[in-house]
């Protein structure tokens, strides 16, 4: 019997797991995919929102601002890339100034610090590639960018190091209330728990419905994006949003923490909770809207496109609370944008609700810091040579586009909750995320995985777990 079972190893579930690991107890995370960060958490804008969007007084506003505030310290504790580059909401029509003012006031009411309106000239100085039509902008210096994978992975790893068990490829098929708590039916057998945290992303309503009659309804809202080459990464230096206009909501243009440029998303409600395919119309929309607030976006430098699903709840509000009719069952549902920003605060909130129920002892051995995968390019040449002398694998570059060494890939595989697939390696160390999109390095990374992961052979190496195998046989095997 676990004290807490957390369903879902995305940012919310992982944040909750880490916060709960501050206490003593038996904790487990159930994840239907083969790795952490496989759903909404991996395909989004990678933005740390300042917090002026959500309505005043909403939980969304509160947790956004709190999450933003926490992000700086957390990124140091857990060693993941986060940059407070500031964001700008661009107004391209004098008649829309009122809307800009509204955002400013809402932001101030939400507790967002240092917001101000910047005028045409200052704006151009800050952001030379802003649209010629831009008349003013709302500047939020606390806005930032983060690596969503590493934020998620860092929180999960830290939770694991502090004793939380993670079970992958484990899908929850049903939950029964028992006298002492819950019996969770999974494809890998039953798991019993005194309390449950539901952090199941686009499935949070389905999981919730297994124990509660209170209505939660989630619609997967698809967002499609273009990711541009690093040669385009300096096109803007802040996250650039557009004020919604008659033409609808614009797309954002932002640098990423790794130096690429990200453009998107669209927003289309769909039915399929696994519908992460891009569409011709969606990509065309991103391309058409890219120039809304930024000029000359170099879309020729696209290296990939992707789609993510936001877990949109009908009320457009975060639901982080104990279900009224299922004591011990805590939802983290409706975690759409700004969910990534809010995730540390969501985890903290969920943990505090659990603690109010379970009254656990503090974990005196809790260690809140984690060292990320060593990035040799940040070392001095002397330090790097010392490293290569001790660990020659750091001298072999595997991914040439991103300059990722074998040493980094081995670290990604062998650390807690290590990578087991090509995508797992990619999310941890970016091997395969560059301009050739794994053309050159995938056979090499496959070989390393087959060599290093116990029990894995080359023909079992997958792109992302499950049936995503890359090799189907050997030469002439069916001739």
């Amino acid at each position: 019997m676990y004290d807490v079972v957390i369903i879902g190893a995305g940012v919310s579930g992982s944040a909750a797991a880490r916060e709960i690991s501050r206490f003593r107890g038996n904790f487990c995370v159930l994840e239907k995919e083969e790795d952490v960060c496989c759903g909404t958490s991996k395909a989004n804008s990678a933005i740390v929102h300042a917090g002026f969007d959500a309505p005043e007084g909403s939980l969304m506003a509160e947790l956004n601002v709190e999450g933003n505030r926490m992000m700086g310290e957390l990124s140091e504790e857990l060693d993941f890339p986060f940059q407070r580059i500031g964001s700008l909401v661009i107004c391209t029509d004098e008649r829309d100034r009122g809307k800009l003012q509204e955002l400013l006031e809402r932001g101030r009411a939400n507790g967002v610090p240092d917001l101000r309106i910047v005028e045409r000239e200052e704006l151009r100085e800050m952001e030379p590639n802003v649209s010629d039509d831009a008349v003013a902008a709302l500047y939020a210096p606390t806005g930032g960018i983060v690596c969503p994978f590493l934020l998620n992975i860092a929180m999960a790893e830290n939770a694991a190091v502090n004793g939380v068990e993670f079970r992958f490829n484990t899908k929850v098929n049903g939950i029964e209330k028992t006298g002492k708590g819950f019996c969770i039916h999974t494809n890998n057998g039953d798991v019993s728990a005194r309390t449950v945290v539901n952090a199941a992303g686009v499935y949070a309503d389905v999981i919730h419905g297994m124990v509660s009659r209170e209505k939660i309804h989630i619609t997967p809202r698809k967002g499609e994006y273009y990711l541009l080459d690093k040669s385009a990464g300096k096109h803007v230096s802040h996250t650039i949003f557009s004020l919604p206009t008659k033409m609808g909501k614009g797309v954002l243009v932002t640098p990423t923490v790794h130096g690429n440029l990200l453009v998107g998303p669209t927003a289309v409600d769909i039915e399929n909770r696994e519908g992460v395919n891009t569409t011709a119309s969606g990509l065309a929309e991103v391309a058409a809207k890219a120039s809304g607030s930024v000029k000359n976006v170099p879309l020729r430098s696209v290296i990939t496109s992707f789609a993510g699903l936001r877990a949109h709840e009908d009320r457009h509000e975060f639901i982080v609370r104990e279900a009224g009719d299922a004591p011990g069952f805590v939802d983290c549902a409706g975690i759409e944008s700004p969910g990534l920003t809010a995730s540390p605060a969501i985890g903290k909130r969920a943990a505090s609700i659990i603690q109010d129920i379970l009254h656990l002892e503090e974990n005196p051995e809790f260690c809140g810091t984690r060292k990320g995968i060593l990035n040799p390019s940040r070392l001095s040449i002397e330090e790097r040579n010392e490293l290569i002398r001790k660990h020659p694998e750091y001298g072999t570059i595997i991914c040439r586009c991103e300059s990722i060494s074998e040493g980094e890939i081995l670290d990604a595989i062998h650390r807690p909750l290590g990578a087991k697939s090509l995508d797992g390696v990619k999310r941890r160390v970016r091997a395969g995320m560059g301009r050739c999109q794994a053309g050159f390095c995938s056979p090499k990374v496959m070989e390393i995985l087959a060599r290093e992961v116990p029990g894995l052979t080359m023909d079992q190496v997958t792109k992302s777990g499950g049936a995503s195998g890359l090799i189907v046989g050997t030469d002439k095997d069916r001739l």
């Binding site: 496109s305 301009r435 999109q437 056979p443 023909d459 890359l470 090799i471 189907v472 050997t474 069916r478």
Partner: protein
Amino acid sequence: MSECMQADIVIIGGGPAGLAAAVAARDAGEDSILVLERDSRLGGILNQCIHNGFGLHTFEEELTGPEYAQRFIDMAAERKIDYKLNTMVLSISRDKVVTAMNREDGMFQVQAKAVILAMGCRERPRGALNIPGYRPAGIFTAGTAQRLVNIEGYLPGREIVILGSGDIGLIMARRMTLEGAKVKVVAELMPYSGGLKRNIVQCLNDFNIPLKLSHTVVDIRGKERVEGVTIAQVDSHGKPVPGTEEDYTCDTLLLSCGLIPENELSAQMGVEMNPVTKGPMVNESLETNVEGVFACGNVLHVHDLVDFVSEEAENAGRNAVKYVRAMGRPGSRKETGAVPVLATDGVRYTVPVCVRPDYMDDKLTVRFRVGNVYRDHYIAVYLNDERILHRKRQILAPGEMEQVILDREKLKNVPDLRQIRICLEKD
């Protein structure tokens, strides 16, 4: 870091271009040459090109890729040319300090007098093609699949659709068929194939594999592994025509949609690029705008025949030696104006982009590609306004590289030579 090493000529890349450049430089009398190769063996991409058809020009016999590579590896070995394997060049400074790394030496620097860029090219990935759909396993560039099959002995798929009719795609259509896979169709966006005619006949027609011109992939299905793709016809702007969609079930999509010279190192050191070739702009000596930095092979412009890569690289090697020898000699570098070589009227680009008649050999080969399929056209060369060449060709196609030879005497005899123009003419 260990102290800076020295070499007269550092060659970035030990594939066919780098090796041919090294051999030619040694034969021109250069002692101090260092080849830096990122892979675990010399020969570059030829090691995985196990089909025949290489070497007809260079060796007057038909070789496979590994055999062709081995000839040059042997020549380099006979000449005791220094090289380092598994060595990644991280940067090259404008004053030619090459920073590289491997397991044995760690990070090290080499001060070169001349640098020859021979890094080759990479394939255009799915992401850059903006194909909508899922992103499952089973989407490979043709070259990645080629490596898995030919080097590792693995089959990446059993039921295959190929997008793009570049030569690697055509070669892989046959290769996968001969390994027991079923290649269902090759779709090509353009109204003509990007590959060599003989590859269409011997790789597709021989095995009854259909080639659909003016078609592209408009959807990829399957969340974990590819389950199928949809192919549609495209209009003259390359836009899919609604109602022409056809579904194919398959477990693999191979992409052969173009090659891109790998010029990140070049760009980083300030080498000017030709937006058409995505390779450096070079003069008659195959020298870039950065003095003493030369380029050859697929990093300069994508070739279809390795024989021409070798020939071009040999020139780069010899020119680098000339440069090193002339260094520091007063007045050695006559800064006479370079004459631009213009590509117009159907000619997409030329290599080189300019010529300094004082520096050119007696004969200079100018290579170029045309932008479309042209029947019964003339290749014309103008010096200023005077036409010096007018050669009829029954067919010119983008997939086949063309060349003209310029004569130094002729160039020198034109008073006030302002431009050389290469174009196509109807009559």
